[in-house]
Structure formats: structure tokens, C-alpha cells
Symmetry: C2
Subunit: 304 residues, 2 copies
């Protein structure tokens, strides 16, 4: 397992000549805007499938030019960012593989990394230099209309190199994310998927279940605890279906671990075991208070 | 099942002569402050077991006087509010039963109502007029230092009368909560416990489990989704242990319903059933968006 964390201010020098972003939505649009605002590239090309949204991204200053033709769009780029939903990443990589310059760096921003890394290593080795990224920002909103150049400020971006990853490419992708305000950490794709299944994907499944079991009567009694614990259940169902299916094995393992903990607390409640029940709840309360807050959180704590 | 909802501005007239609040913590202190700020009573007496916290409550303007002696403190009161943790409510009622004026109204502010209502009906019938309240505010902070006269503004307060409840007392307790800014709803104690087990208690159990299953590695990857979904896991473990034990049957039923929904989504992920998995997640997303937001929520929505 690779692991490490870097942060700090990086000088805003030009990092790339031409950046091509495939999928100019929340993440792609925000990254384009951040690159342009900081002059990290000479130009940013947007690639998508709807002229209207690309025109909007152009107007919002997220890109300098656009095309619907991915192979044409990536021509001459020294950085390609695939910012489509997870299930389309490999398809896009296949589409552009023949049009990339060999020195070109390719990254993606998918929320799952194991399967994608295997596919992209296969598709791109010898054709370009691939290194996976997962910027942990903006998961419950979507679309270019919510994109903002400050989206990555303080957020954690996890880089997921494999043994095949070019070290210079990895270094430069790290520089890019730090230049747009993110902190970076590095871990193997499978390790990423295991950790994120617990820290993120499980929470989405659990939030959806918590909403689904409510009755109209219980919802009348729901207050701020419900608002917070189920906020992410309102996320895009298509996106999360794909993430669940792409990281199925790790998410199922996380659900099983959660189910066992739930069964354990259920038993203590049923048995009226006040001492052990207190220990369980107190353990959670302490662990929650000790947590330093989300990487993207501005201000202290996050445990309030 | 009794059910109904009332809200709106109530004229700030003097509602009681002497109010005695047993347990001047977050809820008790806030209620005292709200009563005094609105001149809803001639005087507010605080009853507790620590002189220091009662002196602080006096300084903070939450009460006008205090005593450690509950029977003496309730003498001459026309309203007694038992604002102790749930497990102490019956004990306090027993302690004061002989010292109450027959016209005196007694309420409690416990988060569970079935067992409490049975006990207090038994203890107080013929000695005073009891009607249960559950103001749904401030569940994740505690102590008089967090008390504020605005705590109940916009919050839902559920009244839980039984067949033995005096209608005039019920009416006046409703007036009190509306006068301090709350909206009121009315339902039978068992119905309250069933609804709140799903809408609140289950969420605390689930949040504690979500925290307990995290590893140090996964916590490094936790972001704003984790911050929100597990916020309430940081609540006071003693308080929530008592609530879990007091409402055990309903909470176990809620956990079972949740566990079955979790098993169902787990199976769809394992089987790769993209259509049914989408339906489950989409059902939750729609239901979450349709929810009008927590009663205490200021501003629109709450689904963001």
C-alpha cells in the first residue's frame, strides 16, 4: 500500500499548455475554471455531448473552446482530464487512446478507482501516461451550473498510482491538484476503494435506507438530525448506482461490517444491557469528536 | 391515535403565576429564559442538584430563584416542568407528588413518552394535572451554557395526552409552547414513540454504527458527507443510552425495518441489478427532496 499526504501552497506557474476536459459538469467545470483563474494552462478545451452545456461552460469561463469530437479535442493536449461519470471513463479512454501524444498525461476524477485503473492502464500504456485522481468535493450537487473555481479549496484529492504509473506524471498531477487548492494523498487504487467504501459509499447506502423506511407520520416528526443524516440521500441516483456497482465488493463488505455493528447494538437494546450499550455509544461519540473534521471543511472541528 | 397540528402567533399574556422547572439544563434553561423574556409567568423557580449550575442559570436570567429541595420548590406553582433526563422523570414526579396544588399542571420534556405517560398518570392522577411534551430541539448539545430563549423558535413540540389528560391543562401547555415559538402537534404517547423511533432514535443508532465501523485509514478519507451523516453520533452517550432503553421495543422494530432495507440494497449491489438498485436510490432521493425540511429549519428546503 502506498500512502502519503502532501499539502501547502504551490506557486501558480503555468503547468500545462493545453488541457482537455472530457465531461464539463460539476467537477470538470470547476477544474477548468480553477485552471483558468490561476493561469495554470495556456488553454482549456471542453469536450462533451451537448452543445448547450458546453456553450454555458464557455460563457462561465470554465473553458476556452469546445468540441463534441473527443479525438479531435484531445489532439495536442499535454493533459487530458476524464470527468465523466464512472461507467463512461473506460469508453472515453478507448475513444481517445489513438489521438493522444505519448507524453500526454491522462487523469480521471472517478469516485471508484480499482476497476478504472486496471482498464486505463491496459488501454493507455504506451499511448499516454495515466494516473488516477479522486477529488473528494461536491458529491451531492451536480452540473456545470454548480461548478466553481473554489470547489477544491481544502478538499482532499487522492492520487491512485499503480506500478505502471509514470512518476513524473504522478508528480505533475499532484502539483495540479495542489495548485487548485486541494490537499493530496496517495494510495493504491484497491486501498482507495476499500477506504472510500467505508467513509463515503456506505454512508450513501445507509442514508437511502434511512429515508426509505420513514413513514409519512414519522417524517412529520423529523427534525434537524434527520436533515443532516439523510442529506446525501438526495444525491443523484444514477451516479450512485454506478458507484455502487463499480465498487460492489468493497461496498458489500462495508455494509456487512455495518450490519454486524447494528445487530450488536440492537441486541444490547433488546437485552437492556445499559453498561455495554453506553460503551458502544460513548465509543462512537469519542471517535466522532476526535475526528479532525472533513478535509474540505473550513473552520475548526466539524463535530458540532 | 390523536393527531393534529397547530401553529401561529400567540399573544404574550401572562400564562402562569409560578413556574417550577426541575432540571435547569439545555431544555429547562432555555424554557425558563423564554418564559422570562416573554413575561409568561410572574416567577420561575429552578430546582436542581448542583448549586453552581443553578447559580449560573440565575445569572443567565433563566430563573428567578432556586432550591435543591424539589417539594419546597414546587409549592405554590401552577406549572411544573420536569426537564431531567428521561430515566429520572418518574422519580422526580414521585418526589413532588405530595407537594403539588391540585390545579397545578405538570409536564415533562422527555424524548420518549409511552412509559413516562403511564408512570406519571399513575403517580399524579388526583394530585395534579399531567400532560406530556416533547419539544424537538437541541438534541445534540446539552447544559445550561448552551441554553437560549430562542431554542424553540420554529421547532416542533409534540403533546402526548392520554385518556386521563385534563383538556384545559392540555390546552394551556399547547399555549405555552406556542408562546415560546414552537409549533405544536398532538398524538398519543405510543404513536409518538413509534414515529420518533424511526425519525430520530434510529438515526442516532445508525450514526453511532457508521462511526464505529470506520478505520483510521477510512477516516482520513472522510469528507463532508461523513461530517453530516454522523454529526449526531457525537451526542451525549448517557442521554441516548437512556432513550434507547426507554423506547427499546419501538427502536428495535425500527432497526429491523432498516436492517431489511439495507439487506435488500446489499443484495441488489451484489447481484449487479442496476435497474432495481436505481429505483431504490431514486425513491430515497425523491422522498428526501419532497420532505419539507425540519420543523425548526429556517429558510426553504433543507434538502441541499
Amino acid at each position: 500500500m502506498l500512502s502519503g499526504c502532501q499539502s501547502g501552497v504551490t506557486e501558480s506557474a503555468m503547468l500545462f499548455r493545453k488541457v482537455a476536459i472530457i465531461g464539463v459538469g460539476l467537477i470538470g467545470g470547476s477544474l477548468g475554471a480553477a485552471i483558468k483563474a490561476r493561469r495554470l494552462a495556456e488553454r482549456v478545451a471542453g469536450i462533451g455531448h451537448r452543445v448547450e452545456s458546453l456553450e454555458q461552460a464557455l460563457k462561465l469561463g470554465q473553458i476556452d473552446e469546445f468540441t463534441l469530437n473527443a479525438p479531435a479535442g484531445v489532439a495536442g493536449a499535454d493533459l487530458v482530464v476524464i470527468a465523466t461519470p464512472v461507467r463512461l471513463i473506460a469508453e472515453k479512454a478507448r475513444e481517445i487512446a489513438g489521438s493522444l501524444a505519448p507524453h500526454c498525461i491522462v487523469t480521471d476524477v472517478g469516485s471508484t478507482k480499482g476497476a478504472v485503473a486496471k482498464q486505463l492502464d491496459l488501454l493507455l500504456t504506451g499511448k499516454a501516461r495515466y494516473v488516477g485522481s479522486h477529488p473528494m468535493a461536491g458529491s451531492d450537487k451536480r452540473g456545470a451550473e454548480n461548478a466553481a473555481e473554489g470547489l477544491f479549496a481544502g478538499a482532499l484529492c487522492i492520487l491512485t498510482p499503480t506500478p505502471q504509473t509514470d512518476l513524473d506524471a504522478q508528480h505533475r498531477i499532484g502539483e495540479l491538484w495542489r495548485a487548485v487548492g486541494a490537499r493530496t494523498a496517495t494510495m493504491a487504487p484497491d486501498e482507495h476503494d476499500r477506504r472510500v467504501a467505508l467513509a463515503s459509499h456506505l454512508l450513501h447506502v445507509s442514508a437511502a435506507c434511512l429515508v426509505n423506511v420513514q413513514t409519512s407520520g414519522s417524517l412529520e416528526c423529523a427534525a434537524s438530525g434527520f436533515a443532516d443524516t439523510t442529506r446525501i440521500a438526495g444525491s443523484d441516483a444514477r451516479l450512485w448506482r454506478d458507484i455502487c456497482l463499480d465498487n460492489a465488493a468493497e461496498i458489500v463488505a462495508a455494509i456487512d461490517k455495518f450490519r454486524d455493528e447494528l445487530a450488536s447494538i440492537r441486541m444490547l437494546i433488546e437485552q437492556g444491557d445499559d453498561r455495554k450499550l453506553f460503551e458502544k455509544l460513548d465509543c462512537a461519540a469519542r471517535k466522532r469528536h476526535e475526528w479532525k473534521g472533513p478535509p474540505g471543511h473550513r473552520g475548526p472541528g466539524g463535530a458540532s
